[in-house]
Amino acid sequence: MELSDFENILKSNQTLYNVCDEVFEELNMDWEKDVHVWDEIWFMEETVTKDNNGEVSTASINRMVEVLAPPSFSDSDRNRRRTESSGNSYKLKNTSTIERKMGINENPNQTEEKLSPIQKIADKLERFKVVFFFTYKHFTTAEVILKKLFQRFEVPSFVDTNIGFNIQNKVVENIRYWLHAHPKDFTNQMLRDLEDFTTKNMNSPLSSLALKNTSAIFESDDEEEKESGINDNINEYVQKMKHELHLSPYESYVNTYFLTFSVPGYKNPRKALSFCQHLLSSQLIAKINGQMEFSPLQTDIYQIKVDEKDTLLTLNMILCELNIYSSYLATVEDDSKSPILFLKDVHDFKGINDVKTRGEEANTIYEKYLTKTSKFKINVDEKILKGIESLVKQSVADPALFDEARNKIYYELMNGSYAQFMITKQFKDLSVWYLKKMTGYSIRLPCSRNVNSKNYPDPILPKGFHEITKLNKNMTLKVNRELAPGVQFIDIDDVELARQMAIIAFDLFVKIQRSELLHQAWSKPKLQHEAPNLMAFINRFNSESAFLAVSILSNTRVKARAKVMDKFIRIAYQSKVLRNYSTAFALLSALNSASVNRLKHTKNLLPKPTLQMLNELESFFISNNNYKTLRDALANSDNQPTIPSMAIYLQDLTFIEDGNPSKVKDLINFEQKRQMANVLSTILSFQELSYNFIKIIPLNNLLQRLPVANENQLYQMSLACEPRGADPSSIL
């Protein structure tokens, strides 16, 4: 089904469509593309942990490496992120601040009750800045960070003015926070630099004002006065935004919080909303990419805890997904819509402010979903049902009335048909479309078979394969029987064999996760369990090699051996053409193994064109200049699906990690981490585009289960085939 079909379905269902549209309208405002600063901050807050000595832990550093290679947006965005990667730093003098803040997170029940919702947000966001600066301090010096911030402020002219302005705002905001909270970091020289910087940029009213304001607070010694001043501002802003801008309480809080970090009189309260938008989108992106599983009904991953009636953000997320799901259900004529309708109605119910109306609505929902005769009966257990029943009968209409039931229904969906749907391609496609509408981003899905291309090449089949049934939905081809009698492996077209090998290898390759590539887990027996997919891919490489050796060596007659060797060279060659460099390399390397390489008589029988192919392969995979030929080819992918030769990248990673100190003068060797991140993102970029070949099941089965043999066995077979010093005439 095409995306436009989905859109039409949505349109035909007016209610659904309206809800969607509202959500989108809300999210479509001022989308701010400069997300990476926030990415970094969130990452720091999420992941930084310290060991007993107060050092940033290895796990955090590894995460840093991962984050430095950011998830894919569009290519141009990614490049921009690389070149602009910002540095903020903060030298933390008073570590107890962090510990205290961390403590809040660990004991939410004890502290939360004392805090107003707004304090909770503020505290949360305060903490992430602290941790962010704290962590960055480990990577570089305060001077360097300040310089980087200055550089960042000078947004290149090609960047859209609004975006540029937003970047500048954030830079100023960060410096301001830094100067305000930890003035001791600033040497006299740095303060002078900062003064120069502000003077130079005086044309930007925000920066000058923000910094003036900061210095004012900075000069004031009275902590209490400052705090009360901020609180006044907050309340003022919340009211202002609620009434003048018609924002929800949640939005008002978030906006206001940001404004406390900015100047009084700041004219753009929409700024904070872009924060929400980004949060939402980054979740959706992560989810689409399968990098994250989260349950929207729990607090969201960033744990911005506010009263549940205000979790607009979270509910928007659910609504987005559920709307996708509903439209999907509409296409499959499933009658299980009740849970979704229920969830939506509960959402509306919670938004009703008027107590009387809410009471009526509670009754309606009860009648519609929860009685034995309800038209849209949902499946909730007796205990919850009775609880709701008694409250409804007493006309108690608390907004949280249906929460328990709602949560249960939601989790059921998550574990049932809904979860099933979430992993389908339709969900992904539709989500991409939603995301585009929400944010303007076009994202490229990892491992999606090219959505627009219906040009699956026709499989090349030998005569025995004539009885072909239809292609099924997964683009696999079922053939009525196993490899037809009389059809040998050797009779199947080289190209088709290479295609099937590529499908298998890619399926394994695409499963490799970023984290599996860190700290050389693949080569350390004790850590291999951390890299299961990478190990599977490596094992496939080895078994492809063994496949070649066994297939050749199990033929006792030299002509048969030559025929098989010829076949494999052709497959290797075609694999290279298909840019499946992993398989091509595995096969070529097996041809060079001791047991195969010594089969002179077999090689003598190879036809000239095959020898030519072999030569090309040899010079392509030649190790000279650190595999320059191969690396060049990998670098010019030209949007072709590619399976890289992992061996060279794993070697690079090992070398970058082992060949360099991880710390320079007590600072984390940032350059080392950055280089690792580059290798990681290079590898993972190949996962984004898959082959669009049709899987031929019997062939695929054959190629999935390759024979195993160890080097000694193979060598014995080789000696049996062509004994040492044997007379050529004695070789059959």
Binding site: N592, S623, Q675
Partner: protein, 208 residues
């Protein structure tokens, strides 16, 4: 320490040398010790690739070792032939505190020697010899194995810089240099790409 200044001498003989051995036996450390003996902090701190070279002077000839470190690729069992074919020298490394790594080293030697086509100089290096206390492979065992198989044998410590330069020097001595230098006169044109940035370490660092 000898500086080579005469241009006429600057036609090094290129020798491809491959390092084999189980993961974590210290292959990379050996190479880095050999190549970057003068390693200094703060100075271009980060190396990006596993391909390193080091020049050495032996019998009035300059040898340029092109060192292929297979670190990180140990699990690609079938890949080794791509490295050791066309190699003139190989160092098989094991860890004296790990007898499994010695067994693995023996199977590497076996595989290398099957490639009878190459006149390849094979050295066996028992690394981490500073860790006497946890030794699992006795020096005598490895030594007698080596003489039986015709290998060079040394126990090394990359950490303490023990026998590292000596190892390369012994390999250089054993190479049939005359035949190489003739062969390579025609092949001199190949330029190597400097991915490592520090690829051509100063020859003065090699005491051979």
């Amino acid at each position: 320490m000898e500086m080579i200044s005469s241009p006429s001498m600057l036609k090094p003989i290129q020798i491809k040398l491959v390092l084999l051995g189980e993961a974590a036996v210290g292959k990379s450390s050996l190479v880095l010790r050999f190549v970057n003996n003068d390693y200094q902090e703060n100075k271009e701190p980060t190396i990006g690739a596993a391909f390193l070279t080091q020049k050495c002077k032996v019998q009035d000839k300059i040898i340029k070792f092109e060192i292929w470190d297979t670190a990180g690729q140990e699990r690609f069992h079938s890949l080794a032939p791509m490295y050791y074919r066309n190699a003139q020298a190989a160092i098989v490394v094991y860890d004296i505190t790990n007898s499994d790594s010695f067994d693995r080293a023996k199977s590497w030697v076996k595989e290398l020697q099957r490639q009878a086509t190459n006149e390849i100089v094979v050295a066996l290096a028992g690394n981490k010899c500073d860790l006497h206390d946890s030794r699992q492979v006795e020096s005598e065992v490895a030594s007698s194995y080596s003489s039986e198989k015709g290998l060079l044998f040394l126990e090394t410590s990359a950490k303490e810089n023990e026998n590292v330069n000596h190892l390369f020097k012994e390999i250089a001595k054993k190479l049939p240099l005359e035949s190489f230098s003739k062969k390579q006169v025609e092949e001199q044109t190949q330029n190597s790409i400097n991915i490592t940035r520090r690829q051509d370490s100063s020859i003065s660092q090699c005491s051979c």
